[in-house]
Amino acid sequence: MSLFSLFQISGSALNAERQRAEVATSNLANAETTRTAEGGPYKRHMLTFNSQPASQFHLLLADSLGGGNTPPRGGVRVGSVVEDNTPPLQRYEPGHPDADADGYVSYPAINPVQEMVDLMGAERSYELNASAVQAAKQMIQQSLQILK
């Protein structure tokens, strides 16, 4: 495990947090969407995060070097995007083109506050990982100083 693997680890987290922010933003943008290609109102999306196993290369390298007591693990990976199956909110708007026979319109069950909090969390985690990349860069540059 060299210092260069730090970039891979932090990079995976940056990618995952960016996707999380994208999903939260898309939920916010579609908070009032009553019509989708699949029919019915927009459904809230969620991400699941998994801890990423080390790449095959790293495992083989660790093996050939005598093997560590724990296999090196990688960063984080977005497992899947799942839909939230909370029933849609019903609002009485008889004049709305998507209203049903009783005059109720189905709106996505999206809480803007919840999405904003999620967005802020993703942003902070992104920042933290970006500073981890800075730290890795500095350490590698410093170790190059030994050669001078």
């Binding site: 680890i9 995952a16 969390g121 933290l128 350490m139 410093q142």
Partner: protein, 127 residues
Amino acid sequence: MSLLDNPVIAALSRALDLTAQRQVLLTQNVANIDTPGYHARDIDFGQELQRALSSAEDEQGDQDEAGRPALVREVPGLVERPDGNNVNIDRESLLMGQNQLQFQTDVALLRSEFSRLQEAIQGGSTQ
């Protein structure tokens, strides 16, 4: 003991190795800050350095012991969030900063050691 095979350089290079390994673990913890069920992992730096140095001092030169990777364990005493993750953002960023400065210190010490050797090689001449 030859000029280049000096205990200070050996100790510093081991310390640098361990610091780099620790940085990888800290980065992994930070990367998995939102992964449900993930537990923070770390090495006991002081203990590992002690072990590496004492095995290096052994005249038998137990290479296996010296080359053995540091023991990685889960950090005890951290509070687990409802999703089963126990990464503490303050602990990780604090340790990351500390680890970085430690790396910088070790590099500076190693450089000064090398420049002293260089001076000895050149016989103190100013060229």
